[in-house]
């Protein structure tokens, strides 16, 4: 599906590379987990795939191949088509990627407007269905609200709705459930699984919630300081982590039994 070969990203303002030579594949129809240290380059990797890095602020090298095409070196018009149509993105912080002055319904329908020739009525129907899919109560009311009128978790679900409405081939999900309670989170994970099964959508799922990653992803990649330290079968890595960082990570999963004395 997608192959990343020796990706390097270096911001001009920083000494160290944000991404220091990673190679990674997302197989057709799989949900790949990407976890790791805060600041290790997960979002930058996703942004490189989505073509959303500020190109003037950084130096990029390597290859990102999607269906044989190199996304890093394709021209702009080609890229625009691929990005809206084939790749959907859910950003880490919903408020920063939503337009504060545009009603939620219209934003969710943006990719449909640009990339399909659906009539406005058809579009609205698809948007309402997508809002319903992500468990937002009263989609009709949400449609006409502005982003700041939604709670953090509601914004997050609206972003997911926007990304799935046009049924892309690849979904990049960057911390999509951080603001969701466990019940809604479980429903969203079911939805993602269903989209993956019935529409064959491949996904890259970035998360700090290791329990969720374990439930959702067959394969997982672990990042630290811009590098991939370990990649493989999720169950295997969780039960028998090889790299010291992975070992530390897995032993730090918060539980309800280890209450430290204050």
């Amino acid at each position: 599906m997608l192959e990343i070969r020796d990706l390097h990203v270096k911001f001009h303002t920083r000494e160290r590379e944000a991404v220091a030579g990673i190679s990674l594949t997302i197989r057709d129809g799989e949900i790949l987990g990407l976890v790791g240290e805060s600041g290790s380059g997960k979002t930058v990797t996703a942004m490189s795939i989505a073509g959303l890095l500020p190109r003037k602020q950084c130096r990029l090298s390597g290859e990102i191949l999607l269906g044989g095409k190199d996304l890093l070196h394709a021209d702009r018009s080609e890229l625009r088509k691929i990005h809206g149509n084939e790749i959907g993105v859910v950003f880490q912080e919903p408020m920063s990627s939503m337009d504060p002055l545009m009603k939620v319904g219209l934003q969710v329908g943006e990719t449909l407007r640009i990339h399909t020739d659906n009539s406005p009525e058809e579009r609205k129907k698809l948007v309402l269905a997508a809002l319903d899919d992500v468990e937002l109560p009263d989609p009709e009311a949400i449609y006409n609200k502005y982003p700041h009128e939604l709670s953090g978790g509601m914004q997050q679900r609206a972003m997911i709705a926007a990304a799935i409405a046009s049924r892309p081939k690849l979904l990049l999900l960057d911390e999509p459930t951080t603001a969701l309670d466990v019940t809604v989170q479980a429903q969203i994970l079911e939805l993602l699984k269903k989209l993956n099964r019935t529409h064959g959508i491949s996904m890259m799922f970035i998360s700090h919630n290791l329990n969720v990653v374990r439930k959702l992803c067959k394969r997982v990649a672990i990042m630290q300081r811009g590098e991939l330290v370990e990649t493989g079968d999720t169950e295997k890595i969780f039960t028998d982590p090889q790299h010291p960082y992975t070992q530390r990570l897995i032993s730090a999963i918060p539980t309800r039994t280890r209450k430290e004395p204050v």
């Binding site: 805060s38 912080e93 109560p137 530390r248």
Partner: protein, 261 residues
């Protein structure tokens, strides 16, 4: 129970009760007006209903509940950003500090990390420039951030780095009462554990209180002394962590706890 133990228990209870009040939220209801400046009954939607609790000095109070239930609205109301329609909120300290759920709301996008963390000290006016620099660097280290990000703007940070900068900017003011709205959701579990330890250490140093909003019930268990459970804008249960986690009374709390793990 021996007489001694009973005395000890009574004494502990006394001590717990005697810690001075920091915040009283007394039968508060409130919500939002939509559509323009006119506040009419028609365009009012109540979000919070009859909220009643108090926080004492040195106490860490958790707040959990489903997405969209009104947790952030309650935080905004305590800060005075949303007005209660009924009931009252009494502060026994200066205006509380907050770490917002969306870190962009806590940070000025035009300024560097260093500026954002140093600003409260500058306003405070008590420290000279070298002392301010020292304090900023010390706080940066305590939230596990490298000095190389001092020059960066908020947009040039990772999500978890931004979250830690907002925590640093709040803690450097040495508040008496701090509201934290999902403050560790963007952190990997090893850094998360360090930040939770930092919050406990600072609590001891400053004897401050927190209102800690989180969807992670395990984190709440590890950090908090007491917890409030909210459903559809009402507090359905409150008590010590042990009471609520080991012996939940409400069906909603039971389900919430069962769905976690």
């Amino acid at each position: 129970m021996s007489e001694n133990e009973m005395n000890l228990q009574a004494e502990n209870e006394m001590n717990a009760k005697e810690a001075p009040l920091v915040l009283q939220v007394s039968h508060v209801s409130g919500g939002y007006y939509s559509g323009g400046i006119l506040k009419t009954k028609q365009n009012y939607r109540e979000v919070l209903h009859d909220i009643d609790f108090e926080i004492r000095q040195g106490e860490i109070m958790g707040l959990v509940g489903e997405s969209g239930t009104g947790k952030s609205t309650l935080a905004k109301m305590i800060l005075g950003l949303v007005q209660p329609e009924q009931g009252e909120i009494i502060h026994h300290t200066k205006r509380p500090q907050i770490v917002f759920q969306d870190p962009y709301s806590s940070l000025n996008p035009a300024y560097s990390v260093e500026w954002s963390i140093e600003e409260p000290l500058r306003v405070f006016g008590k420290y000279d420039a070298p002392e301010r620099k020292r304090r900023v660097r010390d706080m940066l280290k305590r939230v596990e951030l490298p000095e190389e990000i001092l020059e960066a703007k908020p947009t040039e940070l990772s999500g978890g780095q931004r979250q830690r900068v907002s925590i640093a900017a709040a803690l450097i003011r040495r508040p008496r009462f701090l509201i934290l709205d999902e403050p560790v959701s963007a952190l990997d579990v090893t850094i998360q554990a360090q930040i939770l330890r930092l919050l406990k250490d600072i609590r001891k140093e400053l004897d401050l209180s927190y209102l800690f909003i989180s969807h992670d019930l395990n984190v709440v268990y590890q950090l908090c002394d007491r917890v409030l459970v909210m459903k559809a804008g009402r507090l359905v249960e409150q008590g010590t962590i042990e009471e609520v986690y080991e012996n939940p009374k409400e069906e909603y709390t039971k389900n919430l706890l069962a769905a976690a793990d």
